[in-house]
């Protein structure tokens, strides 16, 4: 779960980065940036959840 969370964090950033490289109009750019950040939020929650589970197992 932790690895998947970090993967989502990085993948969301990659989407945001590519958005500025590849798109030039505002509306699609805003949509992709928001999608990337939403993906990162999901990844962040997954990493949190993973550490919470690890703590409970300890």
């Amino acid at each position: 779960m932790k690895v998947a969370g970090f993967f989502l964090l990085c993948a969301g950033f990659a989407i945001v980065l590519c958005t500025f490289l590849l798109l030039s109009t505002t509306a699609p750019r805003a949509a992709f940036v928001l999608a990337g950040i939403a993906m990162q939020a999901l990844g962040f929650l997954l990493v949190f959840r993973a550490h919470y589970t690890l703590g409970e197992e300890r």
């Binding site: 970090f6 500025f20 490289l21 550490h51 919470y52 703590g55």
Partner: protein, 428 residues
């Protein structure tokens, strides 16, 4: 942000130098806050750690950090894509070799950065209180000051791609972070989160019904808050002048905004804790004061005092819930460093996008910066500290933690004349 060095008048340069000399007070304040929130049996260790990581951060930054961060208009590694040149990393010489300090603005930038990276390095100490080995914290700081911090600082303050979003992608003025809410505080706060995850909670923190381990010296914490205020006004003023081209005349506005945001955040956190627990909580109120300063940093010279107060209000509301939420998810952060610096820093960066609107699309540049913090700084910081932990375990052993870091690592306590308190824990 600027993609070329700003030109300061002689008066501006003199004033900026004076502001930079105030910045160590912010570091001293944060060190006191961290020490006060920790246990008495680790107090000397906490203060020594702050000094040591400050020194390591300065030396590492001198050695490699400045080379990676560079400066606006300086030598850099570029990525040419679609006919546009994106500035990725600085390529100045190691140990500042090849950097000619005949430009006073450049000299002031380098000087301010040495203090800024020191402040960023002190932030994670709060999350690792009472269990982070001294040598491990120094090694971790070397990674922060040598890799994590300079890369993001280059992107925002060194004329990097986040600063270029304004000129190359039409997103407002590019990523705005006048006082370092993202570059200094969010980077430090996210590193603190990595450290809290890697070290795990303190012994006894989540056993049985869950225990609140109170800080040993609240006057330290509250006095530390007052010191940070002075240092912060210097830090925000100097960085706003150097990195976002704020005129000398905007310094009083920066001071007023700092005071307004910190005051509103302190009172908001106090009222929220009064409503939730029946009495104001001194520790969360102190965190409220600092988060107000953190949150206003990004837009300190660019918004009116009323907006600054609104930014402080949201920050003050966020801190009690953030502290509780982290606690509920088993993330032991004795000083509230993550809530104050990571949450406050991210909110400050977002608030700059919401309230500063010189040109359309500013919020996209701020969103890109938040994305970089979450998708680059956090994984990189976690990965580097995870590797370090595999090579040299960062957490002190069980006996050392129970004995206290003062005795186990330094061989002497901070308060030798006082008897060791038999009960460190209070039932929640």
């Amino acid at each position: 942000m600027q993609t070329q060095p700003v030109a300061l008048t002689e008066a501006g340069m003199a004033f900026c130098m004076g502001c930079i000399f105030l910045v160590p007070l912010a570091a001293a304040g944060l060190a006191l806050v961290n020490a006060g929130f920790g246990r008495g049996r680790s107090a000397a260790h906490s203060m020594l750690s702050a000094l040591c990581v400050f020194a390591v951060a300065v030396l590492t930054y001198l050695l490699v950090g400045f080379s990676i961060q560079g400066f606006p208009g300086g030598p850099a590694h570029l990525l040419v894509f679609g006919g546009r040149s994106w500035n990725l990393l600085g390529s100045a010489g190691l140990l500042m070799r090849g950097t000619v300090f005949n430009n006073p603005t450049l000299s002031l930038m380098a000087c301010l950065q040495l203090f800024s990276v020191g402040i960023a390095a002190i932030i994670p100490l709060g999350a690792g209180s009472d269990r982070w080995r001294l040598r491990a914290s120094c090694a971790s700081t070397a990674l922060l000051a040598g890799i994590t911090y300079p890369v993001l600082a280059h992107w925002v303050w060194g004329g990097g791609w986040l600063a270029q979003l304004g000129s190359l992608a039409g997103c407002g003025n590019g990523a705005i972070d006048a006082g370092g809410a993202g570059v200094i505080h969010a980077v430090g706060g996210l590193t603190a989160l990595s450290i809290a995850w890697i070290l795990g909670p303190r012994q006894g923190k989540y056993e049985d019904m869950g225990l609140a381990i109170p800080g040993h010296n609240m006057p330290f914490v509250l006095f530390g808050c007052l010191l940070t205020l002075i240092g912060w006004m210097g830090l925000d003023s100097a960085s706003a002048m150097l990195f976002s081209g704020a005129p000398l005349g905007s310094v009083p506005l920066i001071a007023v905004n700092n005071l307004a945001a910190a005051s509103v955040a302190l009172l908001t956190a106090s009222v929220v804790t009064q409503l939730r627990y029946g009495k104001p909580d001194a520790s969360i109120a102190a965190n409220g004061f600092v988060i107000g300063l953190v949150a206003i940093s990004a837009a300190c010279s660019l918004v009116s005092p009323a907006i600054a107060a609104a930014i402080g209000l949201v920050a003050g509301l966020a801190v009690p819930f953030s502290v509780e939420w982290l606690d509920r998810f088993g993330c032991d952060d004795p000083s509230g460093s993550i809530s104050v610096h990571a949450v406050g820093g991210l909110w400050g960066v977002l608030a700059a996008g919401l309230f500063v609107h010189p040109r359309p699309g500013q919020w996209l540049a701020q969103a890109a910066m938040i994305s970089a913090l979450l998708g680059f700084v956090l994984p990189l910081s976690y990965g580097l500290n995870w590797l370090l932990d595999r090579i040299y375990p960062q957490r002190i052993g069980l006996n050392g933690e129970l004995q206290g870091l003062d005795m186990s690592e330094l061989g002497a306590g901070a308060y030798p004349e006082l008897a060791q308190a038999s009960r460190d824990y209070l039932s929640r």
